[in-house]
């Protein structure tokens, strides 16, 4: 326990946790991570989490999907196997729109989900052990990088006056 290089501070409400977070930042302590049971509003700014570029990826892949679909349909109808269908032109542009749209959405959606899984390293793993089983229930945990100067005691001091459940 003692040779861990991090310290976890437990809260049972987001308000003291946010307060603590502010306090810890003021004290320039390294915050490795914050684990919460739900997305806490305002935490991103405090942790200066950069806005993820998943949507950008989604846009690019979506565009790719759309272009691919459109190109494919055009190729099929004008080059690969042009068929006379209902007297319509081979390059039946309006007809291509629905599928182009669907493919755009499909590619965008899948790429964004994949992006999220990859960036957050979310993968099915039966050996996974959560840090604490209460985190998904009602516990808010700030994980602080520990070193010689940063000990549990020092942190308790820093966070004095804030309702803490425990420090590990």
């Amino acid at each position: 326990m003692d040779n861990k290089d991090y310290i976890s501070v437990y809260f049972d409400d987001e308000d003291p946790m946010l307060q603590a977070l502010r306090r810890l930042k003021e004290n320039n302590l390294t915050i490795i991570d914050v684990l919460t049971p739900f997305p806490v509003h305002g935490i991103d700014k405090l942790l200066s989490v950069k806005r993820t570029r998943i949507p950008v990826g989604g846009f690019i892949f979506g565009a790719l999907g759309g272009i691919l679909a459109f190109w494919f349909m055009t190729w099929v109808f004008t080059v690969s196997y042009p068929l006379i269908i209902g007297g319509k032109p081979f390059f039946a542009l309006p007809s291509f729109v629905p599928i182009t749209f669907e493919m755009t959405v499909l590619f965008a959606g899948l790429s964004m989900a994949a992006g999220m899984f990859l960036r957050s390293k979310l993968k099915p793993d039966i050996r996974f052990k959560p840090a604490d089983e209460r985190i998904t229930d009602n516990m808010f945990v700030i994980v602080i990088g520990s070193n010689a100067n940063t000990t549990r005691e020092s942190i308790r001091t820093v966070l004095s006056g804030i309702s803490i459940i425990e420090i590990r």
Partner: protein, 460 residues
């Protein structure tokens, strides 16, 4: 921490709960053994499902001739039911996506089950394009796969668009649903003791740990998925409507169909969500999360979409009269007074009449009435599709081909069977996954508790 809300707003979580209470109240029904009513329900729905599967087998073996369809009425019961299911499958994404974008808080406790419902409804719907084929074993023809003859599909056909639209819709809905489920599965995982169940949920939880960065990505991804799902939900039923509107048949070929079908889909979808939730909140003891406020809000959507549908009826009626085209005029006259007039008037009464009753506040806050009206609307919306499909087909351009359509037991069996599949899946779902999004409920808890306090003060 709470977001400022006007005091006019009503709390959406009753009873000033703590986070722990939310977790346990939502998960307890999953961890405990099901109640007798659940067993009764699943036996009933399972039976219906088996009957339906039998009828599907019979259809595939014997041919579409086992149905009442004929030379003139090439589609009838099965496509009505298909469109009906697809429509029902629209509420989930509408709730999750559009209401998320429009910041309707009340969506939180219903989106999970609505999305699940979407998936099951789409599965039920997707069965029909398969079994209604003359040669169902050749379904793969519909996909543009490379083959020796370099035959591709006809990208002009709305049925091909359908395949892409429904496949995309299902995939995106599934992803969206599952992405939302991951933190809750993690909660469930952590709630369970050791055992196979825990291992399975551990596997399904994708190693979710609740880190702030993960939450950020999760939120952004969710909202972006919602953003793309919004036009998607519009497109899917629009494309389904084009199955009809792209034809040249009077009663099918009308430009209002895409938006009108979307409104109708949301209308029927919300009705089905209401039906399910009013049952589920009793079955799963979720009265605190699915409140009368939720029901009222959804009823307002019913009024809105129901009115749009009514407006579309009015528009269609006017246009077929105004157009001066004899086929159009006859089509409408035949709907209203012809041999299927009963179906038309059921549709009008169920779809136009019923939703308008919800203008009365007392009624839209009554659970019993809502339950009743939701079933009425579902019946009405099924008849809407039936009326559109059958009455347009059975008397089209050449009177020599006019004929009548009468469904057979096999077709009823397919409708009953898909209802069985749907309810069986839903009953299993509520036993396996949290019906309400735990993390989202927690994220609005503070606000709701504050409103609860305000309400209590207000009431003295």
């Amino acid at each position: 921490m709470s977001i400022f809300q006007s005091s006019l707003r009503k709390p959406l979580i009753e009873g000033k709960k703590s986070y722990q209470e939310i977790t346990s109240q939502i998960l307890d029904p999953l961890v405990n053994k099901p109640i007798k009513l659940w067993y009764f329900a699943i036996t009933l729905s399972g039976g219906a499902m088996l009957f339906g599967l039998l009828m599907m087998g019979w259809t595939i073996w014997q041919g579409i001739g086992t149905w009442g369809e004929n030379r003139t009425v090439g589609w009838a019961f099965e496509i009505s039911t298909f469109v009906w299911w697809i429509g029902i499958g629209h509420a989930g994404t509408f709730i999750s996506a559009i209401l998320l974008l429009f910041r309707q808080r009340w969506r939180n406790s219903i989106n999970r089950s609505a999305e699940a419902m979407t998936l099951f409804a789409v599965i039920c719907a997707a069965l029909f394009p398969f079994i209604h084929l003359g040669r169902p074993l050749l379904t793969f023809f519909i996909f543009p796969y490379p083959n020796t003859r370099l035959l591709w599909v006809n990208f002009n056909s709305p049925l091909v668009w359908d395949v892409f639209a429904i496949a995309t819709y299902f995939t995106i809905s599934l992803v969206f649903w599952y992405v939302g489920l991951i933190p809750d599965i993690a909660t469930l995982r952590d709630k369970l003791r050791k055992g196979l169940k825990k291992t399975v949920y551990n596997f399904l939880s994708f190693s979710w740990k609740g880190s702030a960065r993960d939450w950020h990505r999760h939120e952004v991804t969710s909202i972006m998925l919602a953003a793309i799902a919004t036009p998607l939900v519009l497109s899917v039923h629009s494309i389904v409507s084009m199955d009809f509107a792209d034809s040249i048949l009077p009663g099918w070929h009308t430009t209002i169909f895409p938006p009108y079908f979307v409104a109708g889909a949301i209308y029927s979808g919300f009705a089905m969500v209401l039906t399910l939730l009013i049952i589920a909140r009793k079955l799963m003891n979720l009265e605190d999360f699915i409140t009368v406020e939720h029901v009222e809000s959804m009823n307002k959507i019913l009024i809105a979409t129901g009115s749009i549908v009514a407006l579309a009826y009015i528009t269609e009626t006017f246009m077929s009269w105004y157009s001066g085209i004899e086929y159009e005029q006859y089509m409408l006259q035949n709907r209203m007074t012809g041999p299927y007039a009963w179906a038309y008037w059921i549709m009008i009464i169920c779809n136009v009449g019923s939703a308008q009753l919800l203008w009365i506040k007392k009624l839209r806050r009554s659970l019993l009435f809502t339950f009743f009206i939701s079933i009425v609307i579902n019946i009405g919306m099924w008849f809407e599709r039936f009326v559109i499909i059958v009455t347009s087909l059975h008397r089209d351009f050449l009177p020599s081909s006019w004929t009548m359509y009468k469904p057979t037991i096999v077709e009823y069996g397919l409708l009953i069977g898909t209802l069985g599949i749907f309810f069986t899946a839903f009953l299993l779902f509520i036993r396996v996954f949290p019906v309400i999004s735990i993390s989202e409920e927690k994220s609005i808890l503070k606000t709701e508790n504050a409103l609860q306090v305000a309400k209590e003060i207000h009431h003295g």
